[in-house]
Symmetry: D2
Subunit: 187 residues, 4 copies
Amino acid sequence: MLTSSGNAGIPATIRSWAMPSVFRHTSPGYHELVCAPHRPSCAPHHRMKEQYMHTVEQMLDTYPKDLGGIDRAKLTECIQACFECAQTCTACADACLSEDKVADLTQCIRANLDCADICTTTGSALSRHTGYDANVTRALLEACATACTSCGDSCEQHASMHEHCRICAEACRRCERACRELISSLT
Amino acid sequence: MLTSSGNAGIPATIRSWAMPSVFRHTSPGYHELVCAPHRPSCAPHHRMKEQYMHTVEQMLDTYPKDLGGIDRAKLTECIQACFECAQTCTACADACLSEDKVADLTQCIRANLDCADICTTTGSALSRHTGYDANVTRALLEACATACTSCGDSCEQHASMHEHCRICAEACRRCERACRELISSLT
Amino acid sequence: MLTSSGNAGIPATIRSWAMPSVFRHTSPGYHELVCAPHRPSCAPHHRMKEQYMHTVEQMLDTYPKDLGGIDRAKLTECIQACFECAQTCTACADACLSEDKVADLTQCIRANLDCADICTTTGSALSRHTGYDANVTRALLEACATACTSCGDSCEQHASMHEHCRICAEACRRCERACRELISSLT
Amino acid sequence: MLTSSGNAGIPATIRSWAMPSVFRHTSPGYHELVCAPHRPSCAPHHRMKEQYMHTVEQMLDTYPKDLGGIDRAKLTECIQACFECAQTCTACADACLSEDKVADLTQCIRANLDCADICTTTGSALSRHTGYDANVTRALLEACATACTSCGDSCEQHASMHEHCRICAEACRRCERACRELISSLT
């Protein structure tokens, strides 16, 4: 049940360094903890699997009640994209602020600030499953996709001049896509 | 290890697909994509370097001004740990809320809510480098480490009963450690 | 233009001390500052007007560029309602958490947490005017009104039993109303 | 003195107008304003109790468990000051962004962004009482006071030139003071 679909067929040696450290279990003794005596049945493939799991997926897997009919893969992707976009937009607003031509980037900075706030709020709301309200989720995802479109467009205009705007535009596009795919999967 | 100059010699066309999101690593067939036939020149050291890169690091690398004397590796680790912990604590508060014995978990839920807010604020402040203020950074990191200690302790008490609390406790410990290591590196 | 509707018909002398403490200028010498030498034209009506202004209104009044065609009174009302609702929902979630029958209030708690996050994000976005994007503003206001409706409905169900839910439901209704009125005023 | 039961026997129509926004104040004399001649039917006993209450105070009054030894007046003041400062700093960052000399205000903008995030987080944490942790509260209040000092200093430098910076500096000073007074009252 705890499978990380993405890694199927990739040699462990490659997977090990290919995991994003943001989710990699770097804590010393994690291995030992996972395979502690009270879990004698802990098999190598189990260890491996658990090591490659993201905390986002782990939290979905350990939610005590039914997640409902939601598409787990799309939900995971969207939560991750929201938090990535929030961090990237916050950093892009600050990078724009330090550009010599900051006066030409004020609209981009404002779009970044709104997008960061909306993505954090959306990623947090999507991390909650208790008392799910489809109307709130849909309206929030729509607002998030709209903010990502606006911010992605602003950043794209400066992508050729400012590398941080190019990277941020890509994060906004990924988040916008993830939101729209989750919306379309909502029943 | 990961310097902005790392991108210097890579053609934009390659850089465009070579910019993996923090999360793309695990998408189905990512490895196959990166090493697709249309990229025969894909050299191991390139693959490795590229796949280790996160948007967090990319944003640090593309910040237009000097980052100052800050330890870039510790800063990257701390920003990632803060956002991971924020998402995990938000999800853990919700998972606790859906446990049959929620009445026994109210203190844990409150600790999760505070920790999530503080980690988001700390991760955001650490993503800004313009007009750096060491006093604010230090005080915020202290508050974040304190919140992670408190939340980690609360979750640890339920770790054996609730898997989401075990996972959250680990995220809190990672974030606490990352905050303390960054504090000790601040000049 | 800068009158607080609630004060209509109340003598200025009364209004002067009747200002909300959150916004009242309590700093010593405020008067002197306002009427500093570099502002010789400072007339009584000017002082009075400035004294009655809230910081929300003051910030709107001191924004250096044009605010555009937005309804300033509705905008002020909505910003204040969003921050009030965010604080109230955060407190209500915590109060529900301390009720003996917390198990019956988990859906209400979740609605409170989402509503608090969305209201904070909406109040913040509405506090920005640079690079205004009507699409983002409208989508965010729709999401906020939807969250307030959902949370207000949840709290209302417990209003007769839990006073904090009754108070929170009213704050949600005020915020929902303020959002819808601002939406309808957007050109 | 302020008990939730105080509202019990009051008709909804009266309760509705008696529901003050979080921004209405409680300074001495407010009661006389409220009980002005145009409100003859207003019963002193109810008038006084209800109209002195803010939603912030109402939420404190209706919290089902003991609030502990915390100074309620200082707590109320601090929660209000935090949310006021968060809104003002968000608006000041945006106003600075629209100044022609934005390039001279980048440090002020960054200080505003950090201060807004920290104040929102502090105001939210102070709105929670379940599972109170003095260490987290103290560390967070210290971080908030530090951020307010830093932002207040930055804004003060531009107070004579930019009215929004003068107003924001005052909000930062109020919040810093409220945080320090609450810290000193913590046992």
